[in-house]
Amino acid sequence: MYVMFAIRVPTKLTRNPRGVIALSLTVASLLLSSCATRVEVEGSFPAALTHKLPLRSVVVFDEAFANHRFENTQGQEVSIDVGEIQVELFTGLATSLFQHSVTATSMPTLPKADLILKPTVEDVQISMPNESQLKVFEVWIKYNLQVFDATGEPVADWIMTAYGKTPTRFLKSNTAALQQASMVAMRDAGAHFITRFARVPEIQQWLHHRSTSTASTTDSTLP
């Protein structure tokens, strides 16, 4: 099924040079506005249903992370602003997973914490139905979650991927669909973080080492 459109321009307008410029600008702006998709991801996340780890954490959101914007200039122009929402996501996740959590904008020196988390965005990819031939909008986000101990020594570089998709719907705009798919991807990142954090081998080892050293310290203080 094909639907075609045509616009006929009055010849009076094309004879006047000013008219031609005005017409060109109008058509150009119309085309640009119809092609560009700008999404500022907004929403909220529920508190995670999980046991809290007996740890104090500092989550570092640097400027690049807090203002991250995905720009796609090849093909259809798409811009997705994920900075603010991902700060909200990771703040909530740390509050749910750790007994005590604070945020910072730069790496702290000698913090009153057991571990420092520094998430960074490695990559964002999107797929639109006109590219994939599937009837879904898809968003992938690759995070690198750097984990440090209280002295700033690296514990783990955890590459965490998140995926979200939403089905196409009649009269649903690209903006609304990408917003929804981004929110699904963020929730997926949260699910990955909560269910896998303590199972990452390096973190698991660090937690084990920490619990045994705490136990031995406690034992040595016994009379």
Binding site: F5, A6, A47, K165, T166, G190, H192, T195
Partner: protein, 225 residues
């Protein structure tokens, strides 16, 4: 005379509605009706883990509305459920089988949340509505004096869904309902485009919703007698 003709044409076009064929199959574990005690609820969830499609959220809401139609079955909305149980029922983490659900319910935090919400049955819906065929074309033109469209287009949609009922107390499957709805839509354009759309997804929802209701006590022919 012209008025009469246009009135006749309009009446004819309005009376035309595209047809939809719906086939419903069901499977019951046993003939016993499912019971819901006072304060117990049902949750309807969509499967979203496949790469190429996902069960539409509005279809899940539609089934919830059909189940709740006569206020005898209380349904916990999908969004509310997935927020309350976050992150355990996201596409990545949701249990695909009863064994995995049983393991999940071994976790006291999750089991407690289920209990608080009075959940007795979980209904999983898997499927989607797809355009299976399309043909024809419609052209539209806009000129300073006006504009219009001309042409004829047709498209066919098929909705295939399966509902699986899990008993959360016995941790067993209670039944399945499968529905397939097909319908052809048309668009005739003579100056104005006139769409005649088949409500495939709505018909599939009605079919599956009504059938699911018959599983519950108070909705079966045998219960009435």
């Amino acid at each position: 005379m012209k008025r009469l003709i246009s009135l006749l044409v309009m009446t004819l076009l309005l009376s035309l509605s595209a047809c939809t064929t719906t086939t419903v199959d069901e499977y019951r574990e046993n003939s016993t009706a499912l019971t819901l005690k006072n304060g117990e609820r049902v949750v309807v969830l969509g499967r979203r883990h496949y790469a190429d499609y996902e069960t539409e959220p509005d279809f899940i809401d539609c089934i919830g509305d059909k189940l709740e139609a006569d206020k005898k079955i209380s349904v916990l909305p999908e969004k509310e459920f997935s927020d309350l149980l976050y992150p355990w029922f996201e596409p990545r983490t949701a249990p695909l089988g009863l064994k995995r659900l049983a393991k999940m319910l071994d976790e006291p935090l999750i089991a407690q949340r289920f209990k608080e919400q009075g959940l007795h049955y979980m209904i999983w819906i898997d499927g989607s509505t797809e355009t299976t065929d399309k043909d024809g074309s419609v052209s539209c033109a806009v000129v300073p004096g006006g504009g219009g469209c001309f042409g004829f287009a047709t498209w066919e949609k098929t909705g295939t869904y399966e509902a699986i009922i899990w008993d959360l107390q016995k941790l067993e499957e209670s039944g399945r309902v499968k529905v397939e709805a097909q319908g052809s839509s048309y668009m005739v354009a003579i100056i104005l485009p006139i769409p005649i759309v088949a409500q495939v997804q709505d018909q599939a929802c009605s079919g599956i919703g009504q059938q699911l209701r018959t599983f519950f006590k108070g909705h079966r022919a045998s219960d009435a007698s």
